[in-house]
Amino acid sequence: MSHNQTPLYFAGVDIGSTMSKVVIIDEEQNLRAAVIGPTGAEHRRRANEVMIEALGQVGIALESVAFIVATGYGRLNVPFAEQQVTEITCHARGVMTLFPEVTTIIDIGGQDAKALRIQNHKIVDFITNDKCAAGTGRFLEVIAETLDLPLYDMSQISLKSSRPLQITSICTIFAQQEVIRYLSEGAALSDVLAGMHDATAARVVRMAHRIGIQAPVVFTGGVALNPAMVRAMEDNLGCPVMVPSNPLITGALGAAAIARDKYHRLTAEGRIPAVSARRLEEIRLFEGGAKT
């Protein structure tokens, strides 16, 4: 360990369907940078931009990062990552870093929802919605667009309801029609919105029940930033949920923690990844932008 003069950094890059996140940690697993930006259509360039910003926060160059793990939908579009790991494994790892006692993780992102059961710090079962957008962030966005309301306002109005209405459709389009029908019948907006949050939560909780839900439950993903959804999840689960202070970055955080593990395992095996060779290739990519 004589060469260990310079500090070690590890990065996790989570290219989600809607947002791209980068987390950089150090050897002691302290959070050194966390950057979130929209994913958009150009996965590759977006990954670079978010990464550059994160490096800027720490004040280091890309070469100073010892190991990078990419995750999320766009994980194959991160040319500077040494390894790709699925968002399921990374989320679990990230949440366990923050809440070591966690047993159930429910994550609702832009276009997917997943539930994970954890035992002895390992995923023992998991389930994802692989069929449609109902029960995801996208569903809430569709409703917000229909009503021409910002997501935040939609959440706040919803929290004022005392009598949530029942939304029965599980299809996004049909549920949207139900919302409009209630409003045209003169129902209170808060009650309609509360019903919509409740239906979304109920759908995810139903899915999560298939793998068995046990407290403590941690709720993550962009949708966990929505207080009305947090309350709806608690109502449907019948127990409180814990929400990380930054629920969007758990995947990237887990990816960074896995990068750290992987670096040390390879080092122990005498197979330290050849970082320098790879860097050059990807500096050219930075200069060239998204030409490929």
């Binding site: 494994t89 390992k122 692989d130 896995i258």
Partner: protein, 391 residues
């Protein structure tokens, strides 16, 4: 000897164009007998000199004709099979034997009779949904009725010696397939699940003698492969509905796993049990195809008529064969896969998962619909599952 493709190369060519060889044989005057699922006894076809040809769908080709006669909630494999029939792609068959495998399987035979003019000979064999003795007797009666119809069709009787010879040939095929699977017990397995499937599909598209020859070549070829030293891939068993295309296996194997064994009907289910010889061959055929053949379409109880509930005993009696597979092939995880709308397989999933839990073997359940598009959303789940075994 000659330039004819051998072994795995030959198998791949037949896999890519299944009718390749049978069209040649047809030109030489051989009759081709199509069959659906594993229930029509192939031994009877071979005995009469017919070439057994298993009817599949065409993976990835969008259905059109079948959509006019089937409701949306129909297994996509059978939908595609009917579609291929309606499009005339099976018109080269001289006869078809369908079976009461599942409800839609029966309907498929109906539709074939009603909407598809060729071939003339379409027989439906009723297969009971239970496996106790009276059911076996009934199934034997069905097989004997099929025998009479086939004899009329072929204008030839099936004598005991013809049947015995055919049984011996097919048992030889089963033995060779098991020999091939035996090689996959090695770690790492010298044969991928994808390659294995190509061989299995080829076997359903060739006369039994040619299939046996192909198998011998493949076994020699695989034995000669040098073993890689390092293999960190997880060894998995794939269970579930018919896989006549390797797309899903490729997704699994690209995700860092090695498919070392399967419980599917274009795999072990077709070859794991011989037709017993020595006794009455018709009893043997009925028993082998109804009792030994393990498809969830057959309802199995540890003991019929027993009121006492014993969940563990039930699970063991239904799924213990998976335990030996898992132990012998050093399986680290099980991927349970099913075509959408397959009730039979779907209802077995909770029981199998409980059983695998008791063995401490992790498992995952995925659904797909006979298109590569449907594999995209499950790709990440399969990868994540493999990460839980090995990261």
């Amino acid at each position: 000897m000659n330039d004819k493709p051998q072994g795995l190369t030959a198998a791949r060519l037949i896999y890519q164009d299944r009718t390749n060889r049978v069209m040649e044989l047809k030109a030489q005057g051989r009759k081709i007998m199509g069959y659906m699922c594993l229930y029509p006894p192939v031994e009877m076809m071979t005995a009469l000199g017919l070439v057994p040809f298993r009817i599949f769908g065409r993976y990835g080709e969008p259905t059109s004709s079948a959509d006019t006669v089937l409701t949306p909630v129909v297994c996509h494999f059978l939908r595609s099979m009917v579609d291929q029939g309606m499009k005339g792609n099976y018109s080269f068959l001289d006869g078809i034997i369908g079976s009461h495998t599942c409800d839609i399987g029966s309907v498929a035979v109906h539709i074939w009779k009603d909407y598809i003019p060729e071939p003339n000979f379409v027989y439906f064999i009723d297969v009971p949904h239970t496996d106790h003795l009276p059911a076996q007797e009934y199934f034997k009666g069905q097989i004997l009725d099929l025998k009479r119809k086939m004899e009329e069709f072929a204008e030839q009787e099936i004598t005991d010696s013809m049947l015995a010879e055919a049984i011996a040939l097919h048992n030889r095929q089963r033995q060779l397939v098991r020999e091939l699977y035996e090689l996959r017990k090695a770690d790492p397995s010298p044969l991928s699940g994808t390659e294995n499937l190509e061989v299995m599909v080829a076997l359903c598209s060739l006369p039994v003698e040619e299939g046996n020859e192909l198998l011998q070549q493949v076994i020699e070829e695989v034995k000669e492969r040098s073993q890689e030293q390092l293999d960190e891939r997880a060894r998995v068993l794939v269970w579930g509905t018919v896989l006549d295309n390797s797309a899903l296996l490729q997704v699994i194997e690209e995700s860092g796993a090695s498919v070392v064994i399967d419980d599917t009907c274009v795999g072990t289910r077709a070859y794991w049990d011989d037709v017993p010889v020595g006794g009455d061959p018709w009893d043997a055929l009925a028993r082998r195809n109804l009792v030994d053949l393990k498809c969830p379409r057959t309802y199995r109880q540890a003991s019929f008529g027993q009121l006492k509930r014993d969940y563990d005993a039930e699970l063991t009696s239904r799924f213990a064969y998976l335990k030996s597979m898992a132990e012998d092939w050093k399986v680290e995880g099980v991927i349970l896969q099913s075509l959408k709308y397959c009730d039979g397989h779907g209802y077995d999933v909770p029981g199998i998962r409980h059983y695998l839990d008791t063995l401490g073997i992790p498992s995952i359940y995925v659904e797909h619909d006979y298109t590569e598009g449907s594999l995209a959303p499950i790709h990440t789940r399969i990868e994540a599952f493999i990460e839980t075994i090995k990261l």
